[in-house]
Amino acid sequence: MPEVELDPKKWVDRYSDYLFNYTITRVNDAVMAQDLVAETFLAGLKSAHRFKGKSTERTWLVSILKRKIIDYYRKINSNKGKAEVRMSYLDNNDETGDWLEERVKDLRNPTVEDDIEQKELGEALQECIAALPERYAIIFVQKTIDRMDTETICKEHDITASNLWVIIHRARVQLMECLNKKWYKID
């Protein structure tokens, strides 16, 4: 009997944003990132019988996603893949530019490091949110990230406004502690 059971019907709600963030920081292409997330879920479904329940669902899905990202890079680094990239460049109706040069980032740009730091901080925070009790995580995300109004959230979860604020307060305290450990000291 596995210690953790898979629940594929809830995968999109629970993990798609986290996996999408994880992917987009590695492939820098939103459409490709969406495809890779969808393919990860499908691969997860296919190999569900091999899930032993020793890790969490999310850790298991991330390990599948990592392999998908490696496959993606293998593909674009193959000769066929390189040709596909050139073709997609030429499809932009700009045949005069140097496609390779234009795709190289300017590493002297001071915002590059900031971007990386923001991405890593975002990932750390996503991990901390995922570690919250499910209800806390959903309500925190709805209020803080989705900026939904208090009344709508209260109706959806059948709670009073004071309950909602206590939940958000506890979620924030746990997140601050988690980020302290993972990232830096908030003091």
Partner: protein
Amino acid sequence: MGRVFINCNDAEVLSTREQYNDLNSKERFKLKMHHSHCWRCRSFNKKNCKFTRTLNGLNWIKLTAAEKAKIRSRIKDAIERKL
């Protein structure tokens, strides 16, 4: 919370609500009164504000509802084909 003086638990929740601009003037006054004599809650409030700044500074990249629906339907199809 009809009283002017509040305890630390109430002050912490008010501090969190303040991060979402949810306090009315009466509540804001109560929180200020509490902070005037409680260094622990003042310090918590400082951390809370810093955490809000951290959250606001992040570029939250999320899938749209339509994009999620697309992925969901792909999973649904796959499950149905499997059954």
